[in-house]
C-alpha cells in the first residue's frame, strides 16, 4: 500500500517542485542541503531576510533548491555577488553555498578579501576534493597522490587546508564537519547564520560518482563509512593544526569563534555620519 505525501515537512524552506534534485545517487551534497534547511527551520529564520548565493558546480546547484531569494552566479563570483547584495541591503543575511573549486580556485581572490574585510556572510563550502560537475578534475583541495581526470598519474600539487586559509584570512567563525556529522553541522550552520561577520564552514562531502570512482573508494555508503572511521573531533584547535588527509585522518570541529568589527555595519555608520554631518 502506498500513501501520498500531502505536504513535505520542509515545503516552506525547499523548492519541493524541483525535487528530485540533480545530484547523483550516494552524493553527499543532499545532506548538506538538509542540514542547512534544518538549521533554518530550527531557527525559524525569516525567509524574507535570506539570500542564498552559489557559484557554478554540483554544489552550486544548492541555491536553486532553497525557497528564499537565491541566485546562481558565474563560476567563482558567488562571494563577490553576495558582497554586492550585503552592502546594498545590510538587513539581508547572505549565505554562499558552493564548491571547493568555485570558492578556492577560480574564486579564491574574493574569498580571502571578503574574509579580510569581515563582511557579514556565511560561506559553506562542500569540499569533495575535486571538480564534480565537470567530470572529476584536479582541484585546489585534491590530496597529494589522488587520481583525477587531469592528474592521471596521481596529484603532485600541495592542497589547501581550507579552514586554515579562512582563519588566516580573517574569518571570525570557522568550523569543519563531514556530511556524516550532520547534527553537529546543523548546529554550526545555526551559529554561522547568527554570527555577525565572515563565517566559514567546510563540509567534507563524498563525491561518489567521480572522485570515489577514480580513487576506488567504493560507493557513497563506503565513503561515508570511511569518514566515520577517520574523522576526529577536536574543538578549538587552530585550523592550521587541523589535519585533513583523506583516507588517513580528518580533524573536524569548531575551530575559530572570535569578534571583530563588521564591514557593512561600518559602511552604514559612516553613511549615517556623512548624511547628518
Amino acid at each position: 500500500m502506498t500513501r501520498a505525501i500531502e505536504e513535505h515537512p520542509l515545503t516552506g524552506y525547499l523548492r519541493i517542485d524541483r525535487v528530485p534534485h540533480i545530484w547523483c545517487e550516494g552524493c553527499g551534497l543532499g545532506i548538506l542541503l538538509n542540514s542547512f534547511v534544518q538549521a533554518l527551520k530550527d531557527l525559524e529564520f525569516d525567509m524574507d531576510k535570506l539570500v542564498v548565493v552559489s557559484g557554478i558546480g554540483c554544489t552550486g546547484r544548492a541555491s536553486g533548491y532553497i525557497k528564499s531569494d537565491a541566485y546562481h552566479t558565474t563560476h567563482g563570483r558567488a562571494i563577490a555577488f553576495a558582497t554586492g547584495v550585503k552592502v546594498a541591503n545590510p538587513d539581508l543575511k547572505v549565505v554562499v553555498i558552493s564548491g571547493d573549486g568555485d570558492l578556492f580556485a577560480i574564486g579564491g581572490n574574493h574569498f580571502i578579501h571578503a574574509a579580510r574585510r569581515n563582511i557579514d556572510m556565511l560561506v559553506i563550502c562542500a569540499n569533495n576534493f575535486n571538480y564534480g560537475m565537470t567530470g572529476g578534475q584536479l582541484g585546489p583541495t585534491t590530496p597529494i597522490g589522488s587520481r583525477t581526470q587531469t592528474s592521471p598519474y596521481g596529484n603532485i600539487e600541495q592542497p589547501f587546508n581550507l579552514s586554515a586559509l579562512a582563519a588566516c584570512s580573517g574569518a571570525v567563525y570557522v568550523s569543519r564537519w563531514t556530511t556524516l556529522h550532520v547534527r553537529r553541522l546543523t548546529e554550526s550552520i545555526k551559529k554561522g547564520i547568527h554570527k555577525k561577520g565572515f563565517s566559514f564552514i567546510e563540509v567534507i562531502a563524498p563525491c561518489s560518482t567521480v572522485y570515489g570512482r577514480y580513487n576506488r573508494l567504493g560507493d557513497g555508503l563506503d565513503m561515508m563509512n570511511d569518514l566515520k572511521e577517520i574523522s576526529v573531533i577536536k574543538h578549538g584547535i587552530y585550523p592550521t593544526e587541523a589535519t585533513i588527509e583523506p583516507g588517513k585522518e580528518i580533524v573536524v570541529g569548531d575551530f575559530v569563534d572570535i569578534e571583530k568589527p563588521e564591514y557593512s555595519d561600518m559602511v552604514q555608520a559612516f553613511i549615517k555620519e556623512q548624511m547628518e554631518g
Partner: protein
C-alpha cells in the same frame, strides 16, 4: 552644500560629471577597481556616495566589481562601475550574467587604445566592438557615447534610465580625453531630471513568475528582500527562473533578450544631425572626434561643399536604418574613429555602395579639423 545631489553650474572634468550624473539618476552603489583614466570616477564616488546614502566599495578586481554590481542591482539599488580597457575585458563574463539575469546596471568605460596595457594615460576608442560583442553568446546591449562634459552628465543619467527601463546593462563609453577634460556644465534642479525606475511586480509572491515578460518583453522585477523568494540563474531558465535545457526554452529566452532591444530600437537610438538634409558628403563621428568633425563640416559649408555631420549618441543599437535611408543621397561618407577601424564596418555595411573613407587615429590626439576638411574636399573634388 555638497551633501545632496548637486544643482547649478560647475567647471569640472568628464569623470566628475559622470559620477554626479550617476548620483542624480539615483545611483546608490558603486564597486570598482582603480584604473586610469577612470579612477577619478571612483574617487568622486567614494566621497559623494555616503553623502547621499549610498555605498562605495573598492573591489579586489574587476571580475568581482562587476559581480557585486549585479548583486547590488538584485538587492534593489541602482548600481554602477567604471573602468578602462583591461578592466573592461575582465568584466565581460559578468556583464553576460547581468544580461542573462536582466539586472539593470550601468558600466562606464573610459576608453584608451591598444590591446593589453597599451598606453594607460592616453585616450582612444578601443572598445566600441567589445562593448557590443565582448561577452559570449547572443545578446543586445545599449551603449551611449558622450562628446562633451555636459553630455557625459546627461548620458549617465540616461544610461541609468534605460538600464532600469529595459533591465539591461547600459554602457557609457567615455574616452580618456573627455574623462580628464574640464568644461562648464549646468546641473538642472532635481525635479527637472527625468528618472526611470524598474517595473515592480503587481502580482502576489505566489503568482509571481520572475521571468515572465509583459507585452513589452520585459519582466517586472522584484528585489531581494521584498518577500518574493525567487531564484535567478545564469543558466538558460524558464519563466519561473528554473534551469531548463530544452531547445524551446533556449530559443524563447535568447530571442526575448535581444528582441526587447531590437523592437524598441527607434525609441533607443539617438543621433545628432548637422546639415544632413541636403548633404552629399556625410561625416560620421562620435565622442571627442565629432567636435573636430563639426568644425570641418562648417568650414566645408563655407566653401560651398554640401557636407553634413551625423554624430552617434547611441553607438549600440547602431543606427543602421538611418544610414541606409541616407545612403541614396550621398556621394561619399567619411568616418572618424580613434581606433584602427571598428564602427566603420557598420557604417560601410549600412551605406553600401556609397564609398567610405576611414580616418583612423591612434594614440591620444584626436583628429584635427584640417585633416577632416582635406578629406571632405578630396571627396567633393
Amino acid at each position: 552644500m555638497s551633501r545632496k545631489v548637486l544643482t547649478g553650474s560647475y567647471f569640472v572634468h568628464g569623470d566628475w560629471a559622470c559620477a554626479e550624473g550617476a548620483l542624480a539618476a539615483g545611483c546608490k552603489f558603486y564597486a570598482a577597481y582603480p584604473i586610469t583614466p577612470a579612477s577619478e570616477i571612483a574617487e568622486r564616488m567614494a566621497v559623494r556616495l555616503p553623502q547621499v546614502g549610498g555605498a562605495f566599495i573598492q573591489f579586489e578586481d574587476e571580475l568581482g566589481a562587476m559581480a557585486a554590481v549585479v548583486g547590488a542591482s538584485y538587492a534593489g539599488k541602482k548600481a554602477m562601475t567604471a573602468t578602462s580597457g583591461p578592466g573592461f575585458s575582465l568584466m565581460q563574463e559578468n556583464i553576460g550574467l547581468a544580461i542573462m539575469t536582466e539586472a539593470p546596471c550601468v558600466v562606464v568605460d573610459v576608453m584608451r587604445g591598444a590591446p593589453s596595457t597599451g598606453q594607460p594615460t592616453k585616450a582612444g576608442q578601443g572598445e566600441m566592438m567589445q562593448v557590443r560583442w565582448g561577452s559570449h553568446g547572443d545578446y543586445e546591449i545599449i551603449s551611449l557615447v558622450p562628446s562633451s562634459v555636459q553630455e557625459t552628465f546627461d548620458l549617465t543619467v540616461e544610461a541609468f534610465n534605460r538600464s532600469e527601463r529595459y533591465r539591461i546593462p547600459t554602457f557609457v563609453m567615455v574616452d580618456g580625453i573627455l574623462g580628464h577634460m574640464y568644461e562648464r556644465i549646468e546641473i538642472p534642479e532635481p525635479e527637472e531630471i527625468d528618472i526611470v525606475n524598474r517595473k515592480k511586480p503587481t502580482q502576489t509572491p505566489e503568482e509571481y513568475l520572475p521571468f515572465k515578460a509583459d507585452e513589452d518583453l520585459i519582466p517586472p522585477m522584484a528585489n531581494f528582500g521584498d518577500g518574493y523568494h525567487f531564484y535567478s540563474t545564469g543558466l538558460t531558465h524558464d519563466e519561473r527562473g528554473y534551469p531548463d535545457m530544452s531547445i524551446e526554452v533556449q530559443d524563447k529566452l535568447i530571442r526575448r533578450l535581444s528582441d526587447k532591444i531590437r523592437r524598441n530600437e527607434e525609441k533607443i537610438i539617438r543621433i545628432e544631425e548637422v546639415d544632413v538634409e541636403d548633404a552629399e558628403i556625410l561625416v560620421v563621428a562620435y565622442g571627442i572626434p565629432s567636435r573636430s568633425a563639426l568644425k570641418a563640416v562648417e568650414q566645408a559649408r563655407a566653401e560651398g561643399i554640401r557636407a553634413g555631420l551625423l554624430r552617434l549618441i547611441t553607438a549600440w543599437p547602431f543606427p543602421t536604418r538611418i544610414l541606409e535611408d541616407l545612403s541614396s543621397q550621398l556621394d561619399a561618407v567619411i568616418m572618424l574613429e580613434m581606433n584602427y577601424g571598428q564602427l566603420v564596418r557598420e557604417v560601410e555595411r549600412a551605406v553600401k555602395p556609397t564609398p567610405v573613407t576611414f580616418l583612423p587615429k591612434l594614440g591620444e590626439e584626436p583628429h584635427k579639423p584640417d585633416e577632416i576638411l582635406t578629406a571632405i574636399r578630396r571627396c567633393s573634388g
